[in-house]
Amino acid sequence: MNSTGSSKSKPVGVIGMGSFGTAIANNLAEKTEVLAYVRRPEVVEQINSQHLNGSLSVHPEVKATQDIEGICRRCETLFFMVPSAAFTEVTRAFAPFLHPYHRIIHGTKGLALNLPPGENLKEISKIKRSQIRTMSEVILEETVVIRVGCLAGPNLARELMAGKPAATVIASKYNEVILEGQRLLRSDKFQVYGNADIIGVELSGVLKNIIAIAAGASKGWGWAKMRAAC
């Protein structure tokens, strides 16, 4: 790597501009320049000229691009905010341009199936741990990046965008990843905690949704008290 200087002068990458990705990008843009990877060309145009992503407003410091190589070259820290269904594919697209000095923090809740070619979910009676990968495991296995973290918390994109107070956790085996995430994200309204158990945090982020579904169902049936208890 030839670049010099601290990461303060370097932009931060946000991969995927869904509602949560946009919220995080806006938050990051308060402190640093943000390069956002967007899949659809018309969205690039809209973000760069109107600072809008659909109906969501986008911070003017956020520059959208489709140049994967450019993002990887200019940024050292990348936030992967891609839906779990596309996560493996997007990670593979980035892999050829990533180096061991990169740090990736992902904010995706979900698991990826990892089946050998020729097998599919219907034929398997029981899913084993080895057939499932968390998002951080996808990054570790598909790329050369080792300093990986996960961003998870009770964060609703809409509330974050509205500047309501919120808290989140960054989990990583590497203290430096947690510290960097906190440096970039922490603000008066956004508390960022650290945790070393990345797999635990990823799984909680996924499994709590089962309870959320039950809670939603009980609301639908009009059992409000039970929902609160959930």
């Binding site: 790597m1 200087g5 601290s6 050292e76 061991p100 000095y101 080792i146 590497y174 203290n175 430096e176």
Partner: protein
């Protein structure tokens, strides 16, 4: 890696002994020992946060442990003045406590530091190797010549046997794998060889392999107990061994040991250590490694990058080596220890079965005069993060793209020191070495028969736990040959599948007929134990004379999920 067995003469890669890093190190021994002592002193000052009270407490703990060691577990090799030295430390610490109230913080710090300095200096001096080139040459000749004579005497019949050159050591000890890559890399960077460890013989065996491959001698950590015996001490010193005392578990000692290893690597001295820390008691391939010394490789690599040595000359290569035996002489005592440990027996003492010269010579004669081959598989070299490297020393990612190892130590465009990160890297490297051990493992017929037989016995006694199975009377156990053969066939087929997937290696003798493989395996498995782990009785049934031993040899194939076949 091919399965083919490589037998040829390698020219030394550095013919001039003055170019050998280990010779340079021994010439500067005094300065080096001093530097190691200083480095470990500084590490300890940092660990205690420059707080005189904490440091004093650490020193008192060290003193207490050392006095216990001298009292409870003295060895021949311990220096005569051990008692006097620690008594001196004691009186100085006592005096310090007495004057504690009247001393300033700086004074206390200075007095503690000076005591610490003496201790680390003493440790560094004790650890440092005493490599002497003349001794090395002589030892190499004795080992090669002596062993070759013994070997031929045993195998070639008749009066000429003593002068026969029909067999060389390389017939007995087969070297396979990435030997050429290893030789190339040893010219360019620093090698850290990490072998599996099953027998006390490994130390000498590996020393011999290194010399056969034409590599300059490596330094390696050898248990101080081996230096109890003068003749062994001579050999070990000649081979470049530094001393590791397992009794000393105090912080200053451990820091000094790590500094020694790390600084030697930084100087480009090839090193070797057994990452399992000690011989595998259970007979399994190591799956948990001792990370202390492994971490020194990562530290040394980072220090080299910090000093701007970013080219291949400053690169450290990890080379896993798997050693395969049909027969491990110490097996009975190893497995006994393992079982009494895992079986929750509270009391356990470090046994030293290599305690007399007589026992060792008996062992060596037995080893070299009887059949039973050994193979040594040299694995693919990796960088300190476990990425494979090319013959030029470039690291590759999983897709074969070249990457820079220095990038792993960078943050914000600069190499920086981050101990927590390096700790995680050490875990990572440890996992990669275990993976490579399993891939490089070379299956022998004896491993397969032992594995199959023990699994069949376990299956027949499904309701018992392991310890109950092991207590079964041996004379009640017999396996039908037909069923046994079928099961061996299944295991073999699975091993071939694993081999095709690149997860294991096989010795060429496994390509024979099933009956021949079984016969070969039964002949070889633990062949010189008084009680054989597995034999075929007069009625043609498969029986065992020692279940624990069978369990030991069976364990060699643990970790491949083969038990699912039963």
């Amino acid at each position: 890696m091919t399965d083919a067995y490589i037998k040829h003469r390698y020219e030394p890669i550095l013919p001039e002994k003055d170019e050998w890093p280990v010779v340079k190190l021994s010439k500067e021994r005094k300065a080096f020992v001093l530097a190691v002592a200083q480095a470990s002193k500084n590490a300890l000052l940092q660990l205690t946060g420059n707080n005189p009270d904490l440091l004093k407490e650490e020193l008192e703990t060290t003193l207490y442990r050392e006095k216990m060691r001298i009292k409870q577990n003295p060895w021949v090799v311990d220096p005569e003045d051990d008692y006097a030295f620690w008594n001196g430390v004691k009186s100085r610490l006592v005096q310090l406590t007495a004057e504690n109230a009247s001393l300033s913080r700086a004074d206390k710090m200075a007095r503690c530091t000076s005591i610490l300095e003496e201790i680390t200096m003493r440790y560094a001096e004790e650890i440092a190797s005493n490599f002497k080139h003349t001794h090395y040459k002589l030892t190499r000749r004795i080992v090669t010549f002596g062993f070759a004579r013994l070997l031929n005497a045993a195998r070639v019949k008749g009066i000429r046997s003593l002068f026969s050159n029909q067999f060389t050591l390389q017939d007995k000890i087969q070297i396979i794998g990435e030997t050429d890559q290893l030789r190339q890399l040893a010219r360019k960077g620093t090698i850290v060889m990490v072998p599996t460890h099953f027998s006390n013989l490994d130390s000498i065996l590996i020393g011999w392999i290194i010399s056969v491959l034409g590599l300059p001698p490596f330094i390696y950590g050898a248990g101080l107990n081996l230096f109890n015996i003068q003749i062994f001490a001579y050999f070990m010193n000649a081979l470049g061994a530094y001393k590791v005392d397992r009794r000393k578990k105090n912080l200053p000692y451990i820091e000094t040991l790590k500094s020694y290893s790390s600084m030697a690597m930084q100087q480009g001295v090839h090193s070797l250590f057994f990452p399992g820390g000690t011989r595998s008691r259970s007979g399994e391939i190591e799956s948990k490694l001792k990370l202390g010394l492994l971490g020194t490789a990562i530290e040394a690599q980072r220090v080299n990058y910090e000093r701007g040595k970013t080219d291949v000359s400053g690169k450290i290569f990890i080379v896993p080596v798997t050693i395969n035996y049909h027969f491990v002489l110490e097996a009975p005592s190893l497995i006994k220890e393992h079982l009494s440990r895992t079986g929750q027996e509270r009391y356990y003492e470090e046994a030293d079965e290599f305690s007399t010269s007589y026992k060792i010579s008996k062992f060596l004669v037995k080893f070299f005069t009887k059949g039973s081959d050994i193979s040594v598989s040299v694995g693919r070299a990796m960088d300190v993060l476990g990425n494979y490297v090319t013959a030029e020393g470039k690291s590759l990612d999983r897709t074969g793209r070249e990457i820079e190892t220095s990038d792993y130590f960078m943050a914000n465009g600069k190499v920086n020191r981050d101990e927590q990160r390096e700790e995680e890297y050490t875990y990572h490297l440890g996992r990669r070495i275990v993976e490579e051990f399993h891939i490089n493992n070379r299956v022998f017929s004896s491993h397969i028969v032992a594995f199959t037989a023990f699994q069949m016995i376990r299956k027949a006694n499904k309701k018992m736990d392991l310890y109950s199975v092991l207590r079964l009377p041996e004379e009640d156990i017999s396996l039908d040959y037909g069923a046994f053969k079928e099961a061996v066939g299944l295991v073999l087929a699975q091993i071939k599948t694993l081999k095709a997937a690149g997860k294991i290696h096989m010795a060429p003798h496994l390509n024979r007929e099933l009956d021949a493989i079984i016969a070969h395996g039964l002949d070889n498995v633990g062949m010189y134990h008084a009680k054989r782990p597995l034999i075929r009785d007069a009625a043609g049934q498969i029986v065992t004379e020692d279940l624990s031993l069978l369990y030991f040899y069976h364990n060699r194939l643990q970790g491949y999920e083969l038990h699912r076949l039963f």
